[in-house]
Every structure is written in structure tokens, then in C-alpha cells.
Amino acid sequence: MKSYVQIENVQMSFSTRQGEFVALKDIDLKIERGEFITLIGHSGCGKSTLLNLIAGLLLPTDGVMLCADREIAGPGPDRGVVFQNHSLLPWLTCFDNVYLAVERVFGATEDKALLRQRTKEALALVHLSHAEQKYPHEISGGMKQRVGIARALSMQPRVLLMDEPFGALDALTRAHLQDELMKIVAATNSTVVMVTHDVDEAVLLSDRIVMMTNGPAATIGEILTVDLPKPRNRLALATDARYHALRGGVLEFLYQKQAKEAA
């Protein structure tokens, strides 16, 4: 069977004032349907660049990128993106923020009642039905991020792309949202690619952890398969020896093999 997302020999360079800057090179990655992949690495390793390439916000200077056998030539609603800073439009209510996405994807084929129902379902999925008519500035950071997830999921994307979605949240809210994300992903059987710099988050959520070497010219260093059974429970894992072994593996990669001096 062909892989869902295929990245072959991809290279990404930016032209800067100092000349060509190679951010990524020799990236090869195959992502299967229903897989949860996290990209981890030190800051500046190009993990967000890789995510933006899959999103189509950037185009690779070299190599092939396919999603469901079609070349990624630009952004599209088949790849839903959750941004780090939620990026909700402040002049629209939560409902309208999600509706904007739903309307774009399904507006041509479905009537308004159906579009509204889809929007409501997406918000119900992230437990925000009570905040539908609130504006982004009236809700907490965690709730905004949930609206962002609802917006991305409402388009029924083939792949959900998340760029450090919980990075700006406090530890408790983050844990809460990770638990919710696990349930949503299990319920919708989504394919997810998530950028993170949180080792625990990576081990808790992933099927595979893609560890990247330091830039410039960063590439994939190792890929760690997380074979912990699902559903996972953070309390049970806290005393699980396999969890700690995996966690140790990521830490070893980050702080020994790819040790970085404090910038």
C-alpha cells in the first residue's frame, strides 16, 4: 500500500543576504493513514519549516512531496493547520471562525443548515458548544486553541498539521488538551503531524517520533517508534518502564547526540 503522505529527497533553502541558506536537506518520510507523527528537535532545526512544506505554505527547492498521491503544490483544505498562536480572526465569533472554514470546503455542495450543523459538531467535538457566540478575546488561551483545532478538523482534512499547538499554554491546560486531542484523534481516526519541543508530549501522543538534527542543513536523525498500547493514560505511563525507556531515547538523542550549546 502506498503511504498517505510521501516526502522524498526534499531540500529547502532560502536565499538570504548572505547567500543561499540550506534549512533542510535529504528529508525522506512516509506517513501512513491514521498515524500520529511528532517532529522534535532543537529550535532552528527546521521542524516548523518541514510542517509548512507539508501544509504547502512553502514549496521545496528540490524533491517530491505527495499527499494521497497528489503533489503538494500549495495550501489546501485537505491539510488542516493548527497554528501555534491560534490565529483566530478576532472580529468573528468562535462559530463564525469555524464556519468560514466549513463554508469554504463544503459550501459548494451543501446548504446552509448543513454547514451550520457541521460547524456545531466541530465545536461540540472540542467541548465548546457553550462558547459558540463568544469572541476570541472573551475566552481563555486553551479555549482559543481548541477553536483552532475545531476549525482545522471541521474541514475533514486528510492530515491535521499542528505547529507547537500547546506551546503557549500553561502545563495544566496543556495536559488537559493533550488528553482531549488523544480522544479526538481516536474518535476521528485522523492522521496527525505535530511539531513539538516537549519530550513528554511527543512520547505520550505519537506513534512515531521524528527526531531532527541541528540546522543548518538539518535532516531526520532518527525515527523512534512508540509502541505503547492505546488508549494511553498519563498516570499509568508515569510508572511504566517502557515509557521511560522511550523518553530516555529521545532525551539521549536531543542532549547527547545533538547536544546544542546555549545560544
Binding site: P75, P77, G80, F83, N85, L100, R104
Partner: protein, 257 residues
Amino acid sequence: MMKARKFFAEHIFPPLLGLGMFVLVWGMVTQTSENLPGPMKTWDSAVVLFSDPFYQNGPNDQGIGWNVLNSLGRVGIGFSLAALIGIPLGFMIGRFNFLNKMTSPIVSMLRPVSPLAWLPIGLLVFNASNPAAIWVIFISSIWPMIINTAMGVRQLPQDYLNVARVLNLSEWKIFTRILFPATLPYMLTGIRLAIGTAWLVIVAAEMLTGGVGIGFWVWDEWNNLNVEHIIIAIFIVGIVGLLLETMLVRIAKRFSY
């Protein structure tokens, strides 16, 4: 009770004190001059003036209400025309860099010119004083609207544009859902600056063009040597300007996110 007293001490008393001292200084200054009317004399004159604000005794002798309304009308027309042309132009200049580079030397050169310098051109082209006054208002209020709208468009956060790209929105949806609402606060700043300048300029323009209006009224009262009325006119212009400003600040607050 305590709360009311605190509110009075913090919000009512200081401006009242300021106004009181202003009137006091005014009274003291006029003691030394024979020509300048004092506060009491001006007040008496104002009571007479405002007792019948809407009388009409021919084209050159009308109530103060008509004068103010006529001036406001000119400002309204000139300002609306400027908004109609300036705001779309600002959007295009902000969106297309080529257009920005093309127009920026012209805008930078013409903006510092006193709007009154355009009055003779208006008189020449329109052959009438009323359209010429409106033309001056148009010129004075178009610059802040172009410049602020264009700045708002240029300062659109990249995040919002990324949302537009990821959702693959149409140009029309980008405009109505992202570009326009994001630019609105800047646009309103431009409108506020424009109406401030327009109201500032109308007095001078009307002094030159004549007709019914607060500016010409001032000039007329100067010729009559009715200095009380000139002082009253200064207050009226100030208060109307303040009201316009307050109104627009209220509207702008409604649209700040």
C-alpha cells in the same frame, strides 16, 4: 454617598476648576483692554443670539443655527467624497506595492500643502464659491484617509494571511472577512484625523468664499466690529469639533479588537 463624592472629586471637579480659572483669567485680561469683551458681556450676547438660532432675514443675515448647519453640510459633502475616493485608493495602494511606489512621491509632495492653496483652483474650475469650499474640504480630508487605510492594509498580520492561504479563501472572502475588518481601526483613525482637519479648514475657507457659514459669519461680525460674536463663534467651532471627535472615538472603540 461616598462613591458619588469620590466621582465628583475625580471627574467633575477638575474640569470645572479649569474652566472656572479660564473664565477668571479671561475676565482679568479684558479689564485692561477696552475693545475685548469680558465673559459677562459675551454671555449676555450669547443668550440673545441663541434665543432665536434659526431666523432668516435674507441671504446675508441668518441665525447662528443655519450658519453652523451650512458649514457642517459643506464638511459632510467634501468629507464623504474624500472617503468615497480616498478609502478605496488607500486599499489599492496598501495592497499593491507597485501602486504604492507610483503614488507615494505625489502624496508626500501634496500632503503638506495648505488646503487653502487649492481654493483658487476650485474657484477657477467650478466657477462658484460653494463648490470651491467643498473642494478645499475634499483635498484636506483625502490625505489622512489614503495614508491611514494604506498603512492598515500593509500592517495586516502575516498570521491572518496564513489563515487565508490555508483555508484557500477567495479574494472576495479575504477582503470581507480579513482585509476589511483588520483595516477598519486604521481607517477610522484616518477618518477621525480627516474630519478634524476638515472642520479646522472650513472656517478659513468660508472666510474667503463668503455665503452662509460659521467662517463667513466670523468675518462678517469682524466687519460689524461685533467682537462678542467672534468669541462666541470660537466657542461654537471648538464645541462642534469636540462633539465630532467624541462621536468618532466612540465609533472607533466599538471596532477595536
